[in-house]
Homo-oligomer: 187 residues x 2
Amino acid sequence: MAFDVRTICLAILSSGEATGYEIKKQVEEGPAGHFLEASFSAIYPALARLEGEGLVSCRTEAQGGKPDRKVYALTDGGRAAFDAALRDELAPDRFRSEFLFAMLFADRMPAAHVKRLIEARIANYRAEIAELKAAQSDSAGSAFVRGYGLAIFGAAIDYLTTHRHLLEARSEGARPEPEARRHAYQS
Amino acid sequence: MAFDVRTICLAILSSGEATGYEIKKQVEEGPAGHFLEASFSAIYPALARLEGEGLVSCRTEAQGGKPDRKVYALTDGGRAAFDAALRDELAPDRFRSEFLFAMLFADRMPAAHVKRLIEARIANYRAEIAELKAAQSDSAGSAFVRGYGLAIFGAAIDYLTTHRHLLEARSEGARPEPEARRHAYQS
DNA sequence: AGAAACATGTAATCGGTTACATGATTAT
DNA sequence: ATAATCATGTAACCGATTACATGTTTCT
């Protein structure tokens, strides 16, 4: 079993019971939120399947009007399965960036667009850093992961700010932008 | 159209004609190889579909024994489609790391395993850096992307070497959970 | 002799996304 | 009044992976 949505559910449940909704929130808010994703329509079927396999148990709490809360908890089998998953081979890290892919072709794009993309990316990383700083760590693992995130996002911002001129300062680009030209002196 | 395998094909073909096989090699070897993937069984159907849509043209070169080489080239429509893709909204960068996910639960894992995982990750990043250093840049874009890779992989190694003790130095040693201890006769 | 590179493709499967469907409660 | 949060789920679709299928040439 790879580190798919099912394993993520097991992981969250390993620190206490939760509903599908809460699992999603915890994934989003936890330090690993920057390194994984889990949507409702992936989580709900995953939990149903895990229950069928006996890896989680489910207790239903009725509430007026709202759908019943279905509170899931790890079974012994589930805990064993999670431990096994932790011992599995890890898939290599994958850093997927449409931004970098696009930058390969920066010389085909209007300079203003390139500039906008770079600035958006910087803003994005700043936001992620702010989020990581705001979170608190409840374990060595989560402190480590937070620090890791801060380190690489910080490095990304550093690189972008110090090297953006490589893409922005163009001699005779495909589509010369007079305005961008003017500003190019400032960096 | 997102930055899927089809777009990757258009991108590679935008710098010259190629066969499916060559596209795969170029993606792997190019600086973006660290940020994308494209397998044969994704590329071949993608090219067939692009041809059906008139975005690429195909010329077949017979060769004795081997399957014919099918050399693809961008059509005008294909070039326009690629330019459009570059102008599209970019999906946010996604850094997927089973390693970091596992590290969240480092305190549930045998210390030796944690150590091994960290060392493997460092070795891995060193290898990626070596690859990036070995490559040569043929455009501003590719120099930028290479530098970016070197920056963040370097930052990752730095962080790992300076902070691994957070996970490795544990007060009470590797703890199989107390309950399991009691019942487990074999490790 | 054997491995690796060259070269193309299909079929079955899988995991996940998007869009849909519903509706109460609480905060602004 | 309106948005956000809480709360669950299904159906259709999609892109990609895995395993399969074939065969030559070149390097070690």
